[in-house]
């Protein structure tokens, strides 16, 4: 019957875009579709690149590059001293470099963790991830791995500079390799611990600014409080509890582990090294914190999105 009226309304809606679309036509995709492992890996790579601002705006590259430079300057200076004074060893051990750079690493964690997880929560992107062939646990695994790798690269790079510099300075290879290996073990523990804590805090603070502040607070306030308490106890000759106090902040925990097991110099008051019993507890607490934060992240994401 009335061929005029309906098609007019129909065409009005389709005409502007329709013209070009019919020329090209829709093509179906019959290519490969990868499974969960690929999706997890892609998310890992994308997150890791994002942590250093790669593939993002120039402005978001500034902070990671600046912090990374600050991290490497001491290593370069240490190497330079060794080379120019013909010394037989470097003036600082790799493990002590990591402990000494803790404030910088804290800043890096505080900058990166919200970038990795808070954005997806804040901008409600989680449902898009969840509606794809991955599970919540894949998301957590990819983000955790990316965060840990980012911190490891950040803390490991100056150690690499020291190691290579030491070799160039003709220091003994065996010594250098040994302390570098100890340094890498510390880097691994340190990265896993800080990735867990950083992501957990960031995942409950969808607003980026809060996340940054909260992570800095969680990493530094207990650290300084514990150091102060340790100092007070030490000068009052109550040395017994000092080694146990170290368990109360992530920073002193790592510090205790490196001086006990990784041939580091202690930065506790009086350069005390924790006892065997305390050392075992330090390791246990570290492992529990890493596993616990990972488990809590999974719990957190069971409720997130959609």
């Amino acid at each position: 019957m009335s061929a005029e009226t309906t098609p007019t309304t129909a065409r009005a809606a389709e005409a502007p875009a329709g013209a070009s679309i019919h020329d090209i036509g829709y093509r179906h995709y019959d290519g490969e579709r990868h499974g969960r492992a690929y999706v997890r890996r892609s998310l890992y790579v994308q997150s890791l690149r994002g942590a250093f601002g790669i593939g993002r705006s120039a402005r978001s590259k500034v902070l990671p590059i600046l912090l990374l430079t600050f991290m490497c300057v001491p290593a370069v200076i240490i190497v330079a001293i060794a080379v120019f004074t013909d010394a037989h060893s470097l003036v600082a051990k790799p493990t002590n470099l990591v402990i000494g750079a803790m404030p910088l690493i804290g800043l890096f964690v505080a900058a990166v963790a919200p970038q990795l997880v808070s954005r997806d929560l804040r901008f409600n992107t989680m449902p898009l991830y969840l509606s794809r062939p991955m599970e919540r646990s894949d998301y957590v695994a990819a983000k955790f791995a990316a965060m840990a790798t980012a911190v490891a690269v950040f803390t490991g790079l100056p150690l690499l500079v020291m190691f290579l510099g030491g070799l160039l300075g003709k220091l003994k290879f065996a010594d250098q390799a040994r302390s570098f290996a100890f340094g890498l073990v510390l880097v691994a523990l340190f990265s896993l611990l800080h990735a867990g804590i950083g992501l957990l805090v960031a995942s409950v603070t969808p607003r980026r600014g809060f996340g940054v502040g909260a992570i800095i607070a969680v990493l530094t306030i207990p650290y300084f409080a514990v150091n102060m308490l340790m100092g007070i106890l030490w000068y009052n000759d109550r040395q017994g509890p000092v080694e146990w106090l170290g368990l109360l902040s992530p920073g002193t925990l790592m510090s205790g582990v490196q001086s006990k097991y990784l041939d580091g110099t202690s930065d506790f008051p009086g350069e005390i090294v924790v006892s065997d019993v305390a050392g075992a507890v330090y390791l246990l607490v570290t492992a529990l914190l890493i596993a616990g934060s990972y488990a809590l992240l999974n719990v957190r994401y069971r409720r997130a999105g959609l």
């Binding site: 009335s2 875009a17 093509r27 499974g35 892609s42 593939g55 993002r56 794809r132």
Partner: protein, 329 residues
């Protein structure tokens, strides 16, 4: 073939029943899922995506069980959420490429499919700009693109016309229609406005309080209820323009409704004449009649149905004449 089938599907939370023994059989095509806010639309989509377990009953999507084959379903299904979900600091291209990879597409294919899909949804030069500066219409297009980029067999669109102006709404509805006619992808689209779905969908399912209220081919709805709402001004010759028009239209042989119970709540009730749009010539007759009377035509529009009116249709409440497949356009 059935794309979505549910059997006594229930979802109960401690204090609410979101879905109550829902039986559905949805065939390929564009299906509208209508219900008020809180009727259970989003819960149903969540269960169909395999993201939330049902309390009771079974559901399958594309022949796969939602309980056991969630990831495989999500590989073949797209989802466009209702709310904003786009990070403002990345471009549409980067974002959709990332989402394509998250769906399992290899990098090269992800880039090619992204370019294709963004073009199909009508996003051109602006796709390289950060999405923070996009209009609502453009954002909705990106959201649609990310749901289509992996070439699914079925997409769930949750309130895709939310927040759009009338033109944007029509564009989006036209696009949704094309997703099926041109791309061959089945669509389940939710809305709380029945009126806008009847032009787009082959089949409409209405749920309320988690229960199936009605499921039928769109043609059934439109035959029963197609009406034109006409509003005119008064003039010196016709102090009551509305009454004059009603008489003139009756004289012209059209069926004029004197306003049923549902019409009283429409905006401008009392000044609106509802004309049975038996065929397409009705528009012309109304226009000519108004012109002859010398009245000003304020509006003439296809009446938008509201869910309340479905309650008032006593005829055939929960029944499922799985008709489907009739193109209303």
């Amino acid at each position: 073939m059935t794309v979505i089938a549910t059997e006594r599907l229930s979802k109960r939370y401690p204090r609410v029943t979101a879905l109550d023994r829902l039986d559905l059989g949805i065939k390929p095509g564009v299906t509208g899922l209508v219900g008020a806010n809180g009727a259970g639309k989003s819960t149903l989509i969540k269960i169909l995506l395999g993201l939330a377990p049902a309390t009771e009953g079974n559901a399958s999507v594309l022949g796969m069980d939602v309980r056991t084959e969630g990831p495989r379903i999500r590989e073949r299904v797209g989802y466009m959420p209702e709310h904003d979900c786009l990070p403002p600091d990345v471009s549409a291209t980067e974002f959709v490429v990332h989402m394509a990879r998250m769906a399992g597409l290899p990098p090269t294919a992800a880039r090619e499919r992204t370019a294709d899909t963004l073009r199909h949804v009508g996003l051109h030069e602006e796709r390289y700009r950060p999405m923070g500066g996009y209009s609502t219409g453009m954002k909705q297009r990106v959201k649609l693109a990310q749901a289509l980029v992996h070439d699914p067999q079925l997409v769930f669109l949750d309130e895709p016309t939310n927040g759009l102006d009338p033109v944007g709404r029509d564009d989006m509805l036209g696009l949704i229609r094309r997703v099926h006619t041109d791309f061959g992808i089945s669509v389940l689209v939710t809305s709380h406005l029945l009126g806008e779905l009847e032009r787009t969908c082959d089949h409409v399912v209405i749920i309320d309080g988690g229960k199936l209220l009605r499921s039928s081919a769109t043609a059934d709805f439109t035959q029963a209820t197609a009406a034109l709402a006409v509003e005119v001004t008064d003039s010196d010759d016709h102090p009551d323009g509305t009454a004059a028009l009603r008489e003139a239209l009756l004289a012209a042989g059209l069926r004029v409704e004197s306003g049923g119970p549902g019409t009283q709540t429409l905006p401008g009730a009392g000044r609106i004449v509802l004309v049975d749009a038996a065929d397409e010539l009705t528009h012309d007759v109304v226009r000519d009649t108004v012109a002859e009377l010398g009245l000003g035509l304020v509006r003439m529009e296809q009446r938008r149905h509201r869910i309340a009116e479905v309650f008032q249709t006593p005829a055939d409440a929960p029944q499922a004449p799985k008709g489907g497949g009739t193109d209303v356009r």
